[in-house]
Amino acid sequence: MLIKFAFRNLRRLPWRTVLYSSAVFLVILAMTASLLVLCACENARTTLEEEYMFVASLVHRPNTNVYMSDVGLCTQGNEILGINLAMAEGQAVIPGGVHMTEYPDEDNMPSEPSALYMEPFGCNLFAVENLSMVYPFFTGEYTIREGTGLTAEGYTGERAELVIPWWLADQYGIGVGDTVMRRYNHYGHNNNGHYSYRECTVVGIYEAKNKSASPDSYPAYMTVGRAERDYDNFFIPRTVTPIVLDRVDFVLRGRDSFGTFVKTAEANGLALDRVDLVFNNATYDTLLAELDSIRTVALFVFLTVLTVGLGVLIFFTVLLCHTRERERRLLVSLGMTRGGVCRMLAWELAVMLLVAVTLGLGVGYLAAEGVCSYVNGSVLARASASQRVRNLSSDEAFDETMPLEKRIELSVSVFDTTVSASALYFNSMCLPDENELGISRLTLPFIETGENGYPREGIENGVWHPTTIVAVTDPDAVGVSVSTEALRARADYNPYSIYMYVSESSPFAPKDGDDGLLRLYFGKDMQGCVSVVDDFAIRLGGEPLVRYGRENVAGIVAAYVIGTYRDNALCSGEDVLICMEDYHDMFEALSVDFGGFRFERIGHIINKEELQ
């Protein structure tokens, strides 16, 4: 009966119902919206902290250089999520003239180095981890006119992939897919004219928006991975080679990591009087400041509504009850209990509150989303790409901000706040400590060989067997029959050769009395395409294999069985165990480019104790 009376009163007193419900609705709406915006801002702050790409950059001070070895000092002992580096290949250029597309006369190379010096200059060559991370490309000053840009996937083309400037392409009529030469002055041999020429495939041609007067200042770009290989495969943390770098970006875990990062680098021996570590994440600060402003406004609105709105609600509620006093007295005189009257009024209030609060919460949520949407489209959009940051055009403005931040955007939402950046690939850094073992795996086919180690049916007609290559940073930790030290002490040890270990049960396991090392030939697929130019053949196998012509340079790799391993959790049966450097050699030489496969210097890390 009470509920019936309550609903009848609500229906018969529409203005009172609507007015009171509206007051509650507005208060709840404002409180919900402001509270949700407040929470969204808090959430956005957390998300920003967690997902922002905090980048510390290694830059040189005036009249000094950043060397490759400095990178190692920064990475050792530091927790780094990714790394991007660019280096001017000071000892490599694209030659001009006829040598741009043709090998120089190989017969004249050793004896007439002076002729080689006479080659016209083509353009400088830069090596980069990822072309999209190079500032002019990142900022849009340079755009790819034709073809594609270098990406991480281009790390190990057998022919180095190259992106050349428009002027070089126009001057020599070069298009995407053409082959050009890269002249490389071997480290340590630059005084005796020991040059080598490497074929590179042009995969992209870029153009500059504002062309300068001297177009030859625009370099060609190739990947650091390939350049690193050509600098005798000095792996970054160990290198002592004075390779001059243009810049290095380190992706840190968080804003607070920078202090530790600098301290560790300094403790490792980084000379901070020669180089500087820059940490200018200006967009982060701008976004944070804007978020704080919005949060303050939301908090103010919330507290205001909380005090004023609740006061108004209490006033209306009391007024509502007061205006019903005559009704209350009548109902009591008619025999309704005082508790019954109160319950009836409570029902009325409860129904009004239920409807108003439900609507208020729903509309408040939508309003909060609307506010977030407005904030995203205006305040944060401006903060994400402020005019000042937009106008920073290149690494000249390096000290002011990180150009990487130009495309970082914060999207605030009530339940789903995101920080989006351009799809940039940072080569992940995976560096094992002393008690850890770095591992990579790859399945490759090898060709069946006869007892002399040469393909039984010839390379073209041979039978290929897939096997898993297991690469480890420290083969000794796995338990091999010939230690790394013993291997290097052998008289016939060749640093350019690839050595491998097979299972003790393998038919290829060395037998007592064997005087030579068994050789297996690996290919990237089972097609048996085997043309290898002299230079690669020397490096990989010690002697030329087969030569069909320079235009066909897909390869196979010869690897020597140096010893055995005992079957373990990492490798067993037909698996082949090799050291990580040889794995990189093999990978690069075979130009492995399976669809979707991305090369990683080290795939994953385990604790050595896990092998026990």
């Binding site: 007193l13 008619l334 025999g335």
Partner: protein, 221 residues
């Protein structure tokens, strides 16, 4: 037949000016089929007496008995629902309800077991409200009509005791006489005990017995 007894009831209340002795040992008996008028000056304690008789309040001293049973030992809400019909000077109709719903309200509260709507319409007809007016909101009626609706509401649950507090206070002479006539008929024809509190002499003249409140004392005239 005696229906209500007042046995030496006293009642005090406190105002800013001090303690007021509203009733002083009031004693009286009321019977069915009789119209009583309680007259007196403003502030003489008439309305206080009515509250005590309706069980809306309890006396400091003394006892109100309904058919020999003290109200103090009764469920007074139920007493009002089932045995008392009240009429007020300001009608006290609920503005959000129609005429018939106002009457039905008392039936619903009294848990009337019959057809509430038919009973409400019967009562409205009895007090002279036309059928076509039944579904009009109470605010759309004249003062006299509203009071007649209030009378219908008071008698709908068939109470034996009808308490009317200045029922003609807001009405013109003609409407006043109509109301008094209805109340008189309720007593004489239907055997109700009707107690009218009034300061109108012409209303008191129509009552069967008159009691006077004077400075808290209740005396028969």
């Amino acid at each position: 037949m005696k229906i209500l007894d007042l046995n030496g009831i006293s009642y005090d209340y406190t105002t800013k000016a001090g303690k007021v002795h509203a009733l002083k040992e009031a004693t009286a008996s009321f019977e069915t089929g009789v119209v009583y008028a309680i007259v007196g000056r403003s502030g003489s304690g008439k309305s206080t007496l009515m509250s005590l008789m309706a069980g809306l309040d309890v006396p400091r001293d003394g006892d109100v008995r309904y058919r020999g049973e003290s109200l103090l030992s009764m469920d007074r809400d139920r007493y009002r629902r089932e045995h008392v019909g009240m009429i007020f000077q300001s009608y006290y109709l609920l503005p959000q309800l129609t005429a018939v719903e106002n009457v039905e309200l008392s039936l619903e509260l009294a848990n009337y077991r019959g057809n509430k709507r038919a009973r409400a319409e019967e009562m409205l007809t009895l007090v002279g409200i036309r059928r076509e007016q039944f579904r009009k909101r109470s605010t759309q009626f004249s003062g006299g009509e509203q009071q007649r609706i209030a009378v219908a509401r008071a008698i709908a649950a068939d109470p034996e005791l009808i308490l009317a507090d200045e029922p003609t206070g807001n009405l013109d002479n003609e409407n006043s006489m109509n109301i008094v006539e209805i109340l008189t008929e309720l007593a004489h024809r239907y055997g109700k005990c009707v107690i009218i509190i009034t300061h109108a002499a012409e209303v008191a003249e129509r009552a069967d017995r008159v009691l006077r409140m004077d400075d808290g004392y209740l005396r028969a005239e």
